[in-house]
Each structure stands twice: as C-alpha cells, then as structure tokens.
C-alpha cells in the first residue's frame, strides 16, 4: 500500500492502482454526502483535481496521485457516499488509475511514513 500527503491510499491491482482516501481523512471530513467521480478513460496528471467530495460540512477535492489513465470508477460510491466512511479501505474506493510512469509511485509515502505524517 502507498499513500499520498493528501490522505489517499493506493493499492496495486494488476497494472493499475485502486485509489481511496484514508480513515484519517474520512474522520476529519465527517460524513460524506456527495461524490463526483472522473470519467473512465480520462487521462489525468498528478495533482489534477479529479474528484469532488462533499461532507456534511464542506466541499473538497481529491487529486490524481500520479499521471495516468482512469480505468474504472466506483459507481456504488457515487450512489452511496457513506461507503467512504464505513469502509474507507474497501467498498469506499474511488477510482482505479493506470500510471503512465510507474516511477512516480516511488515518490509516494509508505505506511510508516504516512503514519508519521498523521501523527
């Protein structure tokens, strides 16, 4: 598992990565009520704001963790945003991305570094 400083997690699945947000992030955000996902097939660049999420409190963005192509999105999450709160590492995933430059993964955080980040 890899992490970003923006509280996303990435889990390898074939030649793509499943991306979601961490439990720390969902706890901070509160109950999610709206998720707008990117288009499947979209080519995105790292740090592009590709997902809009709204909690009961406020709107925020989720950025692409690396350059790549969106290969799948979690339509169940769009229908029921609370999945991100109840199962952030499982049913609450957001999208799958196929990196165009796998070396960008090396720049992400490992679990120890992420845990140190959130203290």
């Amino acid at each position: 598992m890899k992490y970003t400083e923006e509280h996303e997690w990435l889990r390898a699945e074939g030649d793509a990565y499943v991306v979601g947000i961490t439990e720390h992030a969902t706890t901070q955000l509160g109950d999610l009520v709206f998720v707008e996902l990117p288009e499947v097939g979209a080519t995105v660049s790292a740090d592009d704001e590709i997902v809009v999420i709204e909690s009961v409190k406020a709107a925020s963005d989720i950025m692409a963790p690396v350059d790549g192509e969106i290969t799948e999105v979690n339509t169940d999450l769009a229908d029921d945003p609370s999945l991100a709160n109840s199962d952030p590492l499982g049913k609450g995933w957001f999208f799958k991305i196929k990196p165009s430059d796998a070396s960008q993964l090396d720049g992400l955080l490992d679990e120890a570094a992420y845990n140190a980040l959130i203290g």
Binding site: G30, D31, V33, F34, E36, V52, E54, V56, K57, A58, A59, S82
Partner: protein, 374 residues
C-alpha cells in the same frame, strides 16, 4: 484560541469528545464522536441535547410587564403587550429601512420580558435596547446562566423524568421548573422543527443538569453542525445568512410574526423603526423573497451559490443563503433570496456549482414536517 469565550459546559464537551470550533467568539462543539449525520437523525428520532449558552439571555424590566412590553414594541414589530403570561413569541429588531438587525424570542415571565437573542448580535442588541428604551426600563444581560436545548420527540418524556410539569407545557409555553433542585426557566420551543425545550439554568448547575439529561438512554449530545442541518430542514432562518439588516420581514417571509394589532389599521400599528416600509410592503409585491430550494441532483448547494433563470443566462436572479445536505430529507436542501418573478413554488432555477449550471427547484418549506406539541 485563548481569546475565545467558553460556556459553562465547555469541560463537559471536552469530556464527551467534542470537536470544538470557534463560533461567534465562543469555543463551541461542532460535533461529537457520533458525527453530524447520526446526531441529526438521532434528534429527529429520539432527543438531542444542545449547548446554546453562547446566545444572549436578557431580562427587560419596567415597573410592570406592560411597561417593558410597550418599550420593546418601539423596537420590535410584534404584539408583546398582548402576549399571555408564560407564553413565548418570535420577533425581530428592525432598522430605519425596515431591515432585520436580529431575530429573537420573547417571553412574558409575569413581571418582565425574557429575551433570547443571537450570540453574534447580542452586544449590539443589548446596546440598542439600552440606548433606545426609556431609563425606567432596565435591560440586563443574564451572564450567570447557561442555556440548553433538549429537542426531539422524546424530549417531553425525558424532561418529565426531572419535573413532570414539563409535560403540561404546550408549544411556546414558558415555565419555571425544578430540575434536580435547580431553578430552570424553560420554554417549549427550539430551532430544529421538533418538539422540545430551551432550558436556562444557573451556570454552576449547568453541567449537572446536562449530565442528568444525558444519563437518559434516549439523549445524545448534539453539536452545531447538526443544529444547522436540523434548522435548515425545518425552514428556519439563520441570522446573518438567510436574513440580515438589508432583508425586510416581507422579503424574508416573516410577516406572520407581525400580529394584526401592529399592522396598518391595527390598534398599535407601527411605532417601530422602518414601520412605513415594513407595513407598506405587506400584501404588496417585493423585489425578492426568501424561498426554499431543492437541488435536483445530489450535490449540495451552499451559501453563495449564484442562481440563474436558465442554463445560459448571464444575469443572476438570486443566491443561496444557506444550504447543505439534509440527512432526514436524504438529499441536498437550501434556501435563498430570489427575485420575486422567479420565486413561485415549482420554478426551476440553475445554481452555478464548480462552473456547471445545475437545476434546483423552488420548494415549500419546511422540508421536513414540523413536530410541535400545539
């Protein structure tokens, strides 16, 4: 953070695991570990306990109740003189243009008027009353009492365990109850659209009273986050957002609060700031109105979202004044100030959200049925 004021329940909030935020100069609980969504739903299904001690509690006293009421009627376009003993009523202060400078609750407590005003406005309200009222009417801010709200369908059963007389009160009644030996000034009212009570108790007893209520299995502590979503679903105005000093009662949809006796041709017509404008607008067209709005999609539309009549028009017709997700509605809810030509129920407007125009329908409020004990 050190300049933030604390309510008498501050330590209890921390013990309960609240997330604290600055609000109107106070360090206040925005949510507890349960979270805004569950806190909201719990209040609608059982009972929630809110700390609203940041609000201003004010006693206005003259030689008689009538003297104090007559004084306040020079500032507030409401029948205060005719308010029955131990009854409460909604009202607001107006300015010379007829704009609303704060909204408030007034209670006839036999020999004085008990006024509850918004936290952010309380200093200005008190200064306004002190300067405008005759010197034989005293205006005293009650700083040594906390204010709790117990809201929800189980509120009556819960409060009656401490004093059974709570069950005898009707909506908008006030009474002095004995809660575990503490004298409590109680009204049967609130800000959630649910049955419930607002409970003023001495600061040094506040934590014990709050804990006694929380000890009931149906009661959970509720933060400001759910307070906002509850009042929004109930269609209740938030001062400084849905109404402000530029909004008149007619525009705000609040003329129901101006009793006949204070209207043109009433026995005590006018006599408050901006009366000509306020009364002149009643029954006549106004340029804009506060309306309920239901976004068609799932995306919440929050305060500041600009509304258009069509997907392409360049000219805004209004703006969202407060909005968010309604947990009981199960979708986004909002209210806004809209040009009167576009304010009919059922009208489709378009809110501009992240560069896209998304449809929103003018709707009847409240969004959830009120559940008062009339």
């Amino acid at each position: 953070m050190s300049d933030l004021k604390q309510t008498p329940l501050h330590a209890l909030h921390l013990t309960l695991g609240a997330k604290m935020v600055p609000f109107a100069g106070y360090d206040m609980p925005v949510q507890y570990p349960m979270g805004v969504m569950k806190e909201h739903l719990h209040t609608r299904s059982k009972a929630g306990l809110f700390d609203v001690s940041h609000m201003g509690q004010v006693i206005v006293r003259g030689n008689t109740y009538e003297a104090a009421a007559q004084g306040l009627e020079t500032l507030i376009p409401v029948d205060i003189l005719g308010l029955g003993e131990n009854r409460q009523r909604y009202g607001f202060f107006t300015n010379a243009n007829g704009g609303i400078t704060d909204d408030l609750m007034l209670a006839n407590r036999a020999d004085h008027v008990f006024v509850v005003v918004n936290a952010a406005c309380k200093d200005a309200d008190i200064a306004h009353m002190k300067s405008a009222l005759e010197p034989d009417i005293t205006v005293t801010e009650i700083k040594d009492r906390a204010l709790l709200a117990l809201q929800g369908p189980a509120a009556e059963a819960v409060l009656a365990t401490l004093d059974p007389r709570a069950g005898d009160m009707r909506f908008m009644d006030v009474a002095t109850l004995d809660l575990n030996g503490t004298e409590a000034w109680v009204s049967r009212s609130g800000y959630t659209g649910e049955d419930g009570y607002e409970i003023s108790v001495p600061s040094d007893a506040a934590s014990d009273v709050a804990q006694a209520l929380l000890d009931h299995p149906d009661v959970e502590p509720i933060g400001l986050g759910a307070r906002d979503s509850l009042r929004l679903e109930a269609g209740l105005c938030l001062y400084g957002h849905d109404i402000n000093e530029t909004t008149t009662p007619m525009e705000a949809g609040l003329t129901w609060a101006i009793q006949k006796v204070r209207r043109s041709d009433g026995a005590r017509a006018g006599g408050f700031p901006g009366a000509d404008n306020v009364l002149g607008q009643i029954g006549n067209p106004v340029a804009r109105k506060r309306v309920g709005l239901l976004p068609t999609g799932r995306a919440p539309m929050r305060e500041g979202v600009v509304l258009y009549a069509t997907e392409t028009s360049d000219t805004p017709v209004g703006e969202i004044t407060s909005g968010g997700f309604g947990p009981t509605v199960g979708g986004p809810v909002a209210m806004g100030l809209i040009g009167a030509d576009h304010s009919a129920v059922g009208t489709t407007l378009y809110g501009e959200l992240r560069g896209k125009r998304l449809p929103v329908t003018v709707a009847i409020m409240p969004f959830t049925p009120a559940n008062f004990k009339r």
